[in-house]
């Protein structure tokens, strides 16, 4: 251990730097697309969960419990390997010709994270006095429009801090995509280690990058929050 020679130059330039950079690109793509899609899906599921029509409510509840209570890794394998059994051959052939690894990882990340986001949003909605909904309904808004214009805008603002947590989790969880061959940052760090035996350097670089991504997400959402809160106060 003591004889380990640190050599940062190999990962800071040349081939291995490019590997890590291309891994970073994939991680950012996965995270960004995942954050947007899981937020949208989370919103929909949250609204369904609070619906007055019980089959929709139950469907949303079943979805939430199922996705929240199974490991993400298993879900990734389910979408990548398990979906094969349910889809027609033509669809499988088409999927396999695309970069289905990336899509399967994105679907799994989106669905998994959306369950947590839905619950966060629901708790935000529940914190809005129910008289607001009653007032909106008596003013002639439908349930969905009341949600859209009156309840959700307030609820999402309250939900921002816990949502940041979910986004950070998503960005870090994207490293699990490596198990199905998506060449994201952790995958590339491991490749660099395999080829150079410089695992310390490669994983340190990966760690610093994940840290940077997390801090940037936190900062951006915080900025948004500040502005929204100020507007909120001004109004």
């Amino acid at each position: 251990m003591l004889s380990y020679q640190f050599d940062w130059s190999i990962i800071l330039s040349g081939k291995y730097f490019e590997w890590l950079l291309s891994g970073l690109k994939v991680t950012l793509q996965l995270s960004l697309a995942g954050i947007i899609l899981s937020f949208l899906l989370g919103l929909i599921v949250a609204v369904m969960r609070m619906s007055h029509f019980s089959p929709i409510r139950w469907a949303a509840w079943a979805f939430l419990e199922f996705t929240r209570n199974t490991p993400l890794l298993v879900q990734i394998f389910f979408w990548y390997f398990g979906s094969y059994k349910f889809l027609p051959t033509a669809v499988n052939d088409w999927l396999n010709a695309q970069s289905f690894e990336f899509a399967a990882a994105l679907i799994a990340l989106t669905i998994y994270t959306s369950a947590f986001i839905a619950e966060d949003i629901r708790s935000g909605v529940l914190s809005i006095p129910k008289e607001q909904m009653e007032a909106a309904r008596s003013a002639g808004f439908s349930y969905l429009r009341s949600m859209q214009y009156i309840i959700l805008p307030q609820a999402v603002r309250i939900t921002v801090p816990p949502l940041v947590n979910q986004f950070l989790n998503l960005a870090k969880n994207s490293s699990l995509a490596m198990t199905i061959g998506v060449m994201e940052l952790t995958y590339q760090a491991r490749q660099v280690e395999s080829y150079t035996f410089k695992g310390f350097e490669a994983f340190t670089a990966a760690t610093v990058v994940y840290l940077a991504i997390s801090i940037i997400i936190t900062f951006l959402v915080h900025q948004y929050n500040e502005r929204v809160l100020k507007l909120h106060k001004a109004a």
């Binding site: 396999n96 491991r190 490749q191």
Partner: protein, 273 residues
């Protein structure tokens, strides 16, 4: 003073005797013909090349069958000495063994120190594919190829088929599952590992290991540098074994369809250029 002389004489004696013991014969072929014993360094724990048979407690294998054939031609008895990859070359140079038959890959670095026979076994990195889909490397251009993380297999693929996409899974069973589902067109790694995967596969008749190879591991029998008569004799013998079909018979015995490996022989023993 007398003691000192004795000591010197003893030292001289030891020096002379060890030298006499250590000095390998200049012409091994003549020496074996005289002693009627061929001493071969072999692996004893590497099936099916050289390993100890559970029933007879003797070393058997692909390498040993070649040694037996050479000894038979010489009319000599075989004496097998287990060697490791690290010990085999020094053992040969010190004269403890006459020939190395221990899965030794021929390369330029080793060829500076010892002489190699013609290639008697040829292996390397190959592919498992669905039957009939891959005839040559061209069939894999632009395709997805699966392997396991942490191996150098990936680098070899990228070098030989730059247009392919390599997907590295956590382990070979997953890579093979991806092949079964058509997510990759081939799984690649060392032939022996592939043969092991295929042997365990539930629907193995749908898959095959085509005779397409992207890294070469030619195995040679090792002999002392400049031991020309012996090298020529061994080369002549294994070329005759190829001609008579005996070499192929030995291959099929250890690697062929009736073994767990199900390999197709994709080489012939020919004279090196």
């Amino acid at each position: 003073m007398k003691k000192l002389v004795n000591l010197f004489m003893l030292m001289a004696l030891v020096a002379v005797s060890t030298q006499a013991l250590a000095a390998p014969p200049a012409d091994t072929l003549a020496a074996i013909k005289k002693s009627k014993v061929l001493v071969a360094g072999v692996k004893d724990s590497l099936p099916p090349f050289g390993y100890i048979d559970e029933k007879t407690r003797t070393i058997i294998g692909y390498d040993i069958d070649f040694i037996n054939a050479i000894a038979a031609k010489l009319g000599a008895k075989v004496e097998l000495k287990p060697v490791t990859s690290a010990s085999r070359m020094p053992q040969l140079q010190e004269g403890n063994i006459d020939i190395i038959a221990a899965t030794m890959t021929k390369n330029a670095e080793r060829a500076k120190v010892i002489d190699f026979s013609h290639t008697y076994f040829f292996t390397g990195q190959k592919f498992i594919t669905k039957k009939g889909t891959v005839k040559s490397l061209k069939d894999l251009e632009g395709k997805k190829i699966g392997t396991a993380k942490g191996s150098t297999s990936e680098q070899n693929v990228k070098k030989s088929i730059p247009t392919s996409t390599v997907l590295s899974f956590d382990d070979y069973p997953q890579a093979f599952l991806a092949l079964q589902q058509g997510k990759v067109q081939a799984v690649t790694t060392d032939e022996a590992i592939l043969a092991g995967i295929l042997a365990k596969a539930p629907n193995k008749e749908q898959f095959e290991i085509p005779a397409v190879q992207i890294s070469d591991e030619p195995y040679g029998l090792g002999m002392r540098k400049g031991d020309k008569n012996f090298v020529d004799f061994v080369n002549k013998t294994i070329l005759e074994m190829e001609k008579s079909g005996e070499a192929k018979k030995i291959y099929d015995k250890w690697f062929g369809p009736n073994t767990q490996f199900h390999l197709q022989r994709n080489f012939k023993i020919v004279a090196d250029k």
